[in-house]
Subunit: 275 residues, 2 copies
């Protein structure tokens, strides 16, 4: 294939469900000329309580699906899949694949002044210790405190973002973080930015909240530039975004329309188990 | 196959995860001579927020798996799958299949004196209105008030059974039930019996809590007797229970051992998507 056709190919972005839309959004913002194919695994969501083998199998199926859509690069927008599956799938596929953990770790290392970083995420992400490993690879002096907050995802999903039950859960999970003298805290799950205001209020202004989405889009930009495959098409307005899910397309579309800065007219259902 | 071999075949019981163990337990108690093959779909749990088509596809795969285990009858222990998939799968397979919704409805109709019944369950179960339909088929005079309580499952799963966040959630969901003058309330999700004490305390002694598990085991007993396939083997002590899951076998086994009245020594992993 000639390089000009390659440049026009889309970026594949996937997540266990809707959370990854925050990452897709950031990619669309920083790389407005790129086309995006998004896949949300709404039939098998959530990933955060499941095993490594299962997360790897699910990720492989999704990458095979995205490969059929001729994506030139893939972003694993899900922290759990980034933490548990990235290393394995990178070796298996001939497509550059980025996760959100390494960019998130880099942003936190840049943000911390007193070398103490907090990480909140799903049970599986925290158990993997991938944030700690990556942060300490970048700077071994940084101390990392990880904490799983498994109720945050259902609270967001069930519409409790503004409810005082969410305040109780934030207090329950993050009270111990307050005493640790961390000055940066990674939102290590794509759902958590939707609780950002409440979390920031609770932990106070002395702790800088780090959302890996921004840094991930930056790394993607760098990767595309280095490999010479960034889309340089002149017509900026015609970027194409396609959305696929494994279940409940309508519900996804409603959510996507409340998050994405443009109209999401259509979401397609895929039987992902066939891939 | 001769009838004696048929009688020795196991009962298949399935659920989206661990919740159905409460039903398996009740079957083991009421039908101590029966062998049981249990399947928990831990890779794709929860079902309560997913679409009807997906629940039907998942149920079909599990029934095909159980059919290979030569089960003589199947109990869908999951309320969501009973509500959304039972009618469809009954027509497709040559095995008698029972759900928990009809037995639960029957128990509630027997329990109510002022003909007002409450039902709490997942979003999908409540949306299906299957409890209302079945109750009113049995007695059209009974008024039914259904209420989805989507946070209850994650609260149980994440170990918040005794936490005051759970009290807050119970208050949030069930406050409106208190004003309805219902005198019976169905726990229309297999996780909810694990919150039974707190729920009973909150709604008060004037509302009788109905757990469909008991009635389901009764109906199974009747079905096996009617069809002449109840296990009449003399050696009561040798009933065999097998446990299969689609993910995280160890975690399941720990939970099963905390619920089942005997030691669960082994849980097997099945790639259910292949069925």
């Amino acid at each position: 294939m000639d390089i000009e056709s390659k440049k026009a190919e889309p970026i594949g972005v996937f997540d266990s469900g809707v959370g990854g839309l925050t990452v897709a959004c950031e990619i669309a913002r920083q790389l407005p000329k790129e086309n995006i194919v998004y896949f949300g695994d709404t039939a098998r969501v959530p990933y955060g309580s499941k095993s490594k083998d299962t997360i790897i199998r699910f990720s492989e199926q999704i990458i095979r699906f995205l490969a059929k859509k001729h994506v030139k690069a893939i972003v694993i927008a899900c922290n759990t899949a980034s933490a548990l599956a990235l290393e394995t799938v990178r070796d298996q596929f001939d497509i550059p694949i980025l996760g959100v953990v390494i960019p998130g770790a880099r942003a936190a290392v840049a943000a911390t002044k007193n070398l103490k970083v907090g990480v909140i995420g799903t049970e599986a992400t925290v158990r993997s210790k991938m944030y700690t490993k990556n942060i300490q690879k970048m700077n071994p002096k940084v101390e990392v405190i990880e904490k799983a907050c498994p109720l945050f995802v259902p609270l967001v999903e069930e519409g409790f973002r503004e409810h005082h039950i969410t305040d109780e859960a934030i207090h329950y999970y993050l009270e111990s973080m307050k005493d640790t003298r961390i000055d940066a805290m990674i939102l290590g799950c794509t759902h958590y930015p939707l609780l950002r205001t409440k979390i920031q209020q609770y932990v106070g202004e002395n702790i800088q909240i780090v959302n890996p989405a921004y840094e991930t889009a930056m790394e993607l930009k760098e990767l595309l530039t280095c490999q010479g495959i960034a889309n340089t098409g002149k017509e900026q307005s015609c970027s194409k975004y396609e959305f696929y899910v494994s279940d409940a397309a309508e519900k996804f579309r409603d959510f996507a329309n409340s998050v994405m800065p443009f109209d999401v007219p259509k979401t397609n259902i895929v039987n992902i188990e066939e891939y």
